[in-house]
């Protein structure tokens, strides 16, 4: 067997490609969002990306439904570096730009969800 060949360049991945390891439901909701712009579908993708960043030690205590009032750090255990990682992924998935001073204002799940909705609305206008 021939081993180890690498891609020759590292172009930015396509948004749907970034979600290929997420559950089928989330990939479907993302396709629906791309086709329709439905903000409720985008919300579901945002919440899946947030859940993906909940550390193992908090997964047992994280309820099946993540609600708007939950603190990203205090309730879900997502530290500031992981929030930056989640935001980086959200930027690529939704093709939006988020700057650091905007990230530091996000403390709850609702803040993040509303923020992405607002960014998407601005992009589509």
């Amino acid at each position: 067997m021939e081993a180890s060949t690498q891609p020759e360049n590292y172009a930015a991945p396509k948004p749907a490609e970034l979600l290929k390891h997420f559950p089928a439901r989330i990939r479907e909701r993302f396709a629906h969002f791309q086709a329709s712009g439905d903000p409720a579908a985008a919300d579901e993708v945002v919440l899946a990306i947030v859940r993906d960043h909940v550390p193992a030690r908090k997964q047992g205590t994280t309820p099946a439904v993540i609600t708007d009032s939950m603190s990203l750090t205090a309730d879900l255990g997502i530290d500031s570096v992981s929030i930056a990682d989640a935001v980086f992924m959200l930027e690529e998935v939704f093709d939006v730009t988020i700057v650091t001073k905007e990230i530091v204002r996000l403390s709850t799940v609702g803040d993040l969800r509303a923020f992405i909705r607002q960014k998407l609305a601005a992009t589509r206008n």
Binding site: Q6, Y10, F88
Partner: protein, 422 residues
């Protein structure tokens, strides 16, 4: 020094080209099974590098951790995987094995008495990936974990955080001598009473980004036959074969290891280090620094050359490097009337760069505990310069009591380690 504290090896973990656990590695060493596969980097058949020491059972040669696959027995949380490089994955799996081998739980290493020393060259794959995307965005976009996943030190950052290590934590960057430096400094930390237990891990990935630049130095074999590509001490050797993996070793203060009933492989009885003061990449033609490193190591262990049964040589199969090492071994051993068995296991493994020292230290521990001396795989026609050295071709069913392992890195950095049966 009047030191009374000694250090023993109580756990080993292997992710190597010749096996991903203790039993597979021992079998490969005893039966002479190499870990090489044909490789075509960048899909380019014109490249002179044709053979690579590959890691089986893992698919982790791409930048996105979500695409990696690895054996199911490792349960690794996403928050750890996110900051890892491919070689960080190998290192983590090796530590998981080594802790289990030493009968330690992950909670045992958070006591502040356990330290972690790491060796790697960083991930040129991830550095390339993140920086090329940064530049493509005109400097505006960069992944927040790009630094901690790619720079030299990525192993220490990630592994110390993952395990909650509160003892001494650091990294070693002396190219191919790095993980031997890590072992030597870990031994000193235990002798000086600074720590009771040390985890030492070395890891590397073998990608186009990490391996091809060595070809530009003329350091790589151009052979396509895996039985000819890596042949240390052979007259026709033409360079090394790159390799990857992760190897972890647990070193413990001997009394505390005995008190807890830990399995003991061997004692790490001494070490020595010395540089050539000669060239940025080429080893000193007379092996000057390695001679001094060997003499210092034997003195540190309180041994004479004639006490040594086996030397696991650094010999990577490069024309210049193997010659220099031969000069050093003849000067320290042959000239003193000592004739230890000598072999380089890189004929089977290839050269995993900064990981070589800890990998070969682990082989020495296995040799002492399991009673064998690895042969010089693929050696057909010994270089005449090696006259007087005892270079067995086949693995011998002999139990060495005292073993020396050597490592040499760029800039003429040399380390020798001494292991003793306990």
């Amino acid at each position: 020094m009047g030191t009374t504290r000694s250090a023993v090896i109580t756990g080993l973990g292997f992710i190597t080209s010749i096996g991903n656990d203790h039993a597979a590695v021992r079998r490969s060493l005893c039966e002479g099974r190499h870990g090489f596969e044909p490789v075509k980097f960048l899909g380019n058949p014109g490249l002179p590098v044709k053979v690579l020491g590959t890691i089986k059972g893992f698919k982790a040669d791409t930048p996105n951790w979500r695409d990696w696959t690895y054996p199911e027995l490792y349960q690794l949380p996403r928050e750890t995987l996110r900051g890892l490089s491919p070689h960080g994955l190998f290192a983590l799996c090796a530590i998981e094995q080594a802790l289990a081998d030493a009968a330690l739980a992950a909670t045992d290493v958070t006591d502040g008495q356990t330290g972690l020393y790491c060796a790697s060259a960083g991930s040129t794959l991830l550095a390339h990936f993140h920086v090329s995307r940064l530049l493509a965005s005109n400097g505006e976009r960069c992944h927040p974990l790009s630094v901690v996943s790619s720079i030299a030190g990525t192993l220490n950052f990630n592994l110390a955080a993952h395990y909650g290590i509160r003892g001494t934590v650091g990294g070693f960057v002396a190219a191919c001598a790095s993980s031997s430096h890590a072992l030597g400094c870990a031994l000193d930390d235990i002798r000086l009473g600074r720590q009771t237990r040390m985890i030492i891990v070395g890891a590397e990935e073998a990608t186009a980004e990490s391996i091809l630049p060595f070809g530009a130095m003329g350091a790589l074999s151009q052979q396509s036959d895996p039985t000819l590509a890596s042949r240390p001490f052979d007259a026709d050797r033409d360079g090394f074969v790159g390799s990857a993996g992760g190897v972890a070793l647990i070193l413990e203060e001997a009394e505390s290891a005995r008190r807890r009933g830990a399995p003991i492989y061997a004692e790490l009885a001494g070490w020595g280090s010395a540089a050539d003061g000669y060239n940025i990449a080429i080893s000193h033609p007379e092996g000057l620094g390695l001679k001094d490193a060997l003499r210092r190591a034997l003195a540190d262990a309180g041994l004479r050359p004639a006490d040594v049964d086996y030397v696991n040589a650094h010999a990577t199969s490069t024309p210049a490097g193997d010659r220099s090492e031969t000069m050093a071994l003849q000067s320290v051993f042959t000239a003193a009337g000592a004739h230890p068995r000598i072999s380089s296991t890189k004929g089977l493994t290839g050269h995993p760069l900064s990981m070589a020292g800890v990998m070969e230290a682990a082989f020495c521990a296995l040799a002492i505990k399991d009673g064998f001396i690895p042969g010089n795989a693929h050696l057909r026609n010994p270089d005449p310069v090696c006259a007087g050295l005892d270079l067995p071709r086949e693995t011998l069913a002999e139990r060495p009591r005292t073993v020396v392992s050597t490592s040499s890195g760029f800039g003429g950095s040399n380390v020798a380690l001494v292991f003793k049966q306990v």
